[in-house]
Assembly symmetry: C2
Homo-oligomer: 338 residues x 2
């Protein structure tokens, strides 16, 4: 297997990117292709012991900044490490593309530029895996499509299911829609229509679900349009930080609390690990012709390695092929590209 890493992705590029690639090459035993400025990457790679590791470098002369507009980079930086890296996947010289860089740019270059949509896919969707109640849960779409049609969201459910089946070892994942109540008839128009569609599919659809049930681990896949999904995730993450901030503040407000704070340090670290999104790598852009993983720009070498491993699992599990098969099987009426 050959995994491409955009070596110019993180905020500290290419330092954590190269280190993470070395870690992944060692752990997975597969080939990692670093894409970026050749000389700079060679120099960085020399810092590491790469004996017996399969690491290659492919030169790219342009770099995409976090501040670059997705629509602009699409045409103006055709030799970016993202373009060059994805072309390797498109031309079947590699199996997956991983970057810790600009999310919007990655989406644009993948969807509209180099890779394009899989046949039958209406809209690719951002997919994230969080550990919830000690098990992985797939969230799709968490931000690619703010205004979604019912048939797009129906496809998100099928793609999310295929991902859980192939990369997370869940043969029959439970699939749910986030809503404002669990009863039939709850939800806004979009969610109600999605519910009707999903009930008609031969999938393990358990209906509407509320946030507390999601966090209680009652489903394996949560399906929403990209607007609701994005707000949900940001509310979840924001509230975790808010609680942690209050805890820090209140623990500083007296010597008994301060002492208690010292004693609960390891407990707090375990909580941090339980909610750390980097445990499962980055987000996947499902629905394009190839495995694409997008990690956080602030990620360290471990996060880079996790994202490469996530790509490895998707390739090994044949996620893309399975998405295509399921879409053809379950929603043949959605077969035509627009």
């Amino acid at each position: 297997m050959r995994l491409v890493l955009d070596a110019m992705g993180t905020d500290e590029r290419p330092v954590p990117d190269v280190e993470g690639a070395v870690m992944a090459a060692r752990e997975l035993g597969e080939t990692i292709i670093l894409v970026g400025p050749q000389a700079r990457l060679e120099q960085e790679l020399k810092k590491h012991n790469t004996t017996n590791l399969k690491i290659e470098i492919v030169n790219a002369t342009e770099t995409i900044e976090m501040t670059d507009k997705p629509s602009a980079v699409l045409k103006q930086k055709p030799e970016s490490s993202m373009h060059v890296g994805m072309r390797l996947v498109r031309d079947q010289k590699a199996d997956a593309f991983v970057t810790m860089g600009n999310t919007g740019a990655t989406q644009a270059i993948a969807t509209l530029g180099v890779l394009r949509r899989l046949p039958g896919v209406k809209r690719p969707a951002m997919t994230i895996i969080y550990s919830v109640s000690r098990k992985p849960t797939v969230f799709i779409d968490v931000g690619a499509n703010a205004d979604s049609r019912v048939d797009w969201v129906e496809q998100f459910a099928i793609m999310g299911m295929a991902y859980a089946q192939t990369a997370l070892n869940m043969p029959n994942p439970r699939i749910a829609t986030l809503s404002n109540g669990e009863e039939e008839g709850k939800g806004n128009e979009l969610v109600r229509e999605v519910q009707a569609r999903l009930h008609a599919l031969p999938i393990n659809y358990i209906g509407h679900i509320e946030p507390k049930e999601i966090l209680g681990g009652k489903t394996d896949v949560v399906v929403f349009d990209g607007f609701l999904g994005n707000v949900f995730l940001k509310t979840y993450e924001g509230t975790l930080s808010y609680f942690a901030g209050m805890l820090r503040e209140e623990l500083m407000s007296g010597w008994i609390s301060k002492l208690g704070g010292l004693l609960i340090r390891s407990a707090v670290q375990r909580i941090r690990k339980r909610v750390d999104p980097d445990e499962y790598g980055g987000a996947l852009l499902l629905g394009v012709r190839g495995v694409v993983v997008i990690g956080h720009g602030s990620g360290n070498a471990l996060a880079v390695k996790s994202s490469l491993k996530q790509a490895y699992n998707a390739v090994k599990g044949k996620t893309i092929e399975t998405i295509q098969a399921r879409l053809a099987e379950f929603a043949p009426q959605s077969g035509a590209e627009e």
Copy 2:
């Protein structure tokens, strides 16, 4: 001032209801009218010292259960404590109605049955006040309207502003829309259109805001359609409980953590108090002809008292009159009832 309390609201009715009424009568010095089965309420009231307190009882022969369907109670229980209580407000024999009972039933009886909408109001909205970063923040609509039109949400902003101005002592409240990003153009179609409308009004509209900014206290009023608002609040509450549950669990996992857990008890209690929604009473149904406050059925006497105080503040601040004046002033095109 005369405040009506549905004495058959809480799960333990009428015990906490009557106790809360006594507390409120003492603290506010105003008349509290208890509505419910006369004999039962007289008996309950005898348990308390009511010397010098202005507490009256009005008989109601029917009681609405938490399991009753809103559409059913509307016509089938015309002598319920909700109906009788709201009629007192409608007939100007009282100034506000408070219940800890069935939310959907209260909305239905207020909006479609007894009180009806204020002239010019398209849809009443559920409004809640949470303490966020140590200050009250108004959230509107948190669940009355799952499918909202742009002009309804525009009115929610005006009603929420009027509430903050009149009942929370905020002369010029900051108003924001929840979205998936702060930049112009972010959001789904509804949110983008609401943004354009609110920018055109002479209000202190600060644009789109993300969950972490809301929790950081950057706005005083958050406006959303009832579906998004409901999911947001439930995600916030669900995540707080989730974090608290993880903390409890991890603190039990070893004797050092256990000891730490004992020492941080008061810190945790302070956090609990900071995020307790009952601190500011219940939800308001804004947009009907009268002040209507709906508390949690699980609320204790203190929660009943808080809800009565919230009603008191809205009456004293002339919230209803201000809503009407602002709607006429800012959105005269919305003047016609449908």
